[in-house]
């Protein structure tokens, strides 16, 4: 791309308020996760019973929980967990789903029918239910919950990809490529995929947010990350019994989840505005 084009791309990014806010929040969470790998303000794994339920102070900015662990540190370390789950689960859904969707659009006929009916079938189960089913079969644990969420993501991407790819297949430039003797694989890679990429990227950010929510829900149910690894969902779970005595214990992880989901959704919205060719490339 020429210089002017990339300039206008950056200026379009700067102009989209939701992209800026969403990007900032997402960036902040990423920084938290990275920092927590090396340093946290307090301890996360050590149980210090005498320090339980401390109110916020200089030592513990957000206080401590019922085992005397530093809440801020746990939140920061929990970010790692959420981001890993998001990235891995979305990647599973993205690669398998987009691949299946592209295949369905290119092959049509019974291949398309089979892929779409399978995804209808998996859509029939609520996300959490299917995740519970998968963890029930494979056993609870961080990795299994990631796989469960990832599998749930496959039909989402498969449907979206197939829908948008079908629209591209109907375009005249695809017809022109066929008239040039290009086979379906090269048309898919050269014409279809680049033209639907922006839609997929936007969906990926939204699925990322949903994956974080799903992971929190699974952990809350005790099917996700196992102790002593901190996770936002498990923090909520542990706070639940103390809801009326120490409400703040539930508020902190709840706020973290809300912030992450909010930030990613804004980012997705902003990306949609920026990447939408109808807005950027007016005839």
């Amino acid at each position: 791309m020429s210089n002017t084009a990339s300039n206008s791309f950056i200026s379009r990014c700067a102009k989209s308020r939701s992209f800026v806010i969403g990007g900032t929040i997402t960036g902040f969470l990423l920084v938290c996760a990275i920092v927590s790998l090396f340093w946290t303000p307090g301890t996360v794994y050590d149980i210090v019973i005498k320090d339980r339920f401390l109110t916020p102070s200089a030592d513990h900015l957000l206080g401590t929980d019922q085992f005397g662990r530093d809440v801020l540190s746990m939140l920061m370390t929990g970010t790692q967990n959420s981001i890993t789950v998001g990235i891995v689960a979305v990647s599973i859904g993205l690669f398998a789903g987009v691949g299946l969707g592209l295949l369905a659009a290119a092959r049509k006929g019974w291949t398309e029918e089979l892929i779409m009916r399978l995804s209808d079938f998996s859509f029939a189960f609520p996300a959490i239910l299917s995740a519970i089913m998968i963890t029930a079969i494979l056993g609870p644990g961080g990795v299994n919950s990631i796989i469960a969420i990832g599998i749930y993501n496959i039909p989402v991407f498969a449907r979206l990809t197939r829908g948008s790819a079908n629209a591209i297949w109907a375009r005249e430039y695809v017809m022109a490529a066929r008239a040039s003797g290009k086979n379906k694989l090269s048309i898919t890679l050269e014409h279809v995929l680049p033209n639907i990429l922006s839609i997929i990227i936007v969906q990926a950010t939204i699925q990322f947010a949903l994956a974080i929510l799903a992971e929190a829900a699974l952990s809350y149910l005790g099917l996700g990350t196992q102790p002593p690894h901190p996770s936002w969902g498990r923090m909520l779970n542990e706070a639940q019994t103390l809801m009326f005595l120490h409400p703040m214990q539930a508020v902190y992880p709840g706020a973290a989840i809300a912030l992450a989901v909010f930030g990613l959704n804004l980012l997705g919205d902003g990306l949609r505005d920026i990447l939408d060719p109808r807005l950027s490339r007016k005839r």
Partner: protein, 331 residues
């Protein structure tokens, strides 16, 4: 002796309609009902007709972009119908296509160089340098700059985009170019530029055109021979001069009369056509045009008129009353 570049014989294409119920008999859209014509090297063959007459279906079948029900399409003497996509690939360099919509036919994510070079894939391996040379050469021949290769389609106007599309069709030095309404999306002043370009390219490279249009004036300007299609069949064909001067089918006459004339002066006398194109979902005995034809008689309902020669010099028409039509036109 002149070489025949394209020979289409009795081409049939019926699209199945979704069934209304499991037990209902299958229904079809009769898009092409046995179309035959041939084009000689270096000539332009025009196909005119209203929307839904099957002219775009014909283009896609000639280009082997969809499966044909029956009939034969020979390009440069080689049968195209029945070949698999991969078997056909090496042969594709001989026939290329230009599409109607200059906005829809170019991938917005590809550079002009990449778009124009696309058909070269069918030629097998070419060196990078050879590719670049051919792209530059073909871009200059359609009136664009060789430096335009790195630009994107959205940086060009409609007319320039259609030049890019023509360059893409020319790059394999094909014998036949199928052009489906190549100028109907363009403004008048730009349309003239593209029409002249198509003419010049024919003079320079000797390409053969199968030119599809709904605009009779454009066809008259560009084509040596014309076929008029109605409901999936050719109802009249012949040399452009003959056909336009002495239309032998009432439908041709009506089409010619319907074109508004940009001239001072009062209204012309003409036959007006009532009704619109009827469905293509049923097959009937008799002339397909009889419901709208001002000359229709009982004979038209009983006997399907065959395409027959009505005048010397290859003027064919499918009407029981062609001789009367010609007489009336000469009188």
């Amino acid at each position: 002796m002149t070489k025949t570049v394209l020979e289409v014989t009795d081409l049939v294409r019926h699209y199945p309609l979704p069934k209304e119920s499991l037990t209902a008999p299958p229904r079809y859209v009769y898009a092409l009902n046995g179309v035959s014509f041939s084009i000689e090297e270096g000539k332009s063959f025009g196909i005119v007709g209203e929307s839904g007459c099957g002219k775009s279906t014909l283009a896609r079948n000639v280009m082997a972009l969809e499966s044909t029900d029956s009939g034969s399409v020979k390009i440069m003497g080689k049968e195209v119908v029945g070949l698999s996509f991969n078997e056909l690939r090496p042969h594709r360099q001989h026939f290329q296509m230009v599409f109607q919509d200059p906005y829809g036919s170019l991938d917005p994510h590809h550079t002009v160089g990449r778009i124009v070079a696309e058909p070269l894939a069918a030629l097998g391996r070419l060196s990078r340098q050879e590719k670049d040379e051919r792209v530059a050469e073909v871009l200059t021949s359609v009136g664009l700059k060789a430096t335009d290769v790195s630009k994107y389609p959205h940086e060009f106007s409609g007319g320039q985009r259609q030049r890019i599309a023509i360059a893409r069709a020319l790059i394999t030095r094909p014998s036949l170019i199928v052009a489906d309404e190549p100028v109907s999306a363009l403004d008048v002043s730009v349309q003239a530029q593209v029409l002249n370009l198509l003419r010049d390219l024919q003079d320079d490279f000797g390409v053969t055109y199968m030119f599809i249009s709904h605009d009779l004036a454009v066809v008259e300007y560009l084509c040596d021979e014309v076929a008029v299609m109605y409901l999936g069949s050719i109802v009249e064909k012949g040399k452009t001069e003959d056909l336009f001067a002495r239309p032998a089918h009432p439908y041709t006459r009506i089409l010619l009369d319907a074109v508004p004339q940009p001239a001072a002066g009062k209204k012309r006398d003409r036959i007006r056509l009532s009704g619109s194109v009827t469905g293509q979902t049923e097959r009937r005995v008799g002339c397909a045009f009889r419901d709208r034809c001002p000359m229709a008689t009982d004979k038209c309902a009983e006997e399907t008129p065959a395409l027959r020669q009505v005048e010397d010099g290859g003027h064919f028409a499918a009407c029981h009353y062609s001789e009367e039509m010609i007489q009336r036109a000469t009188a």
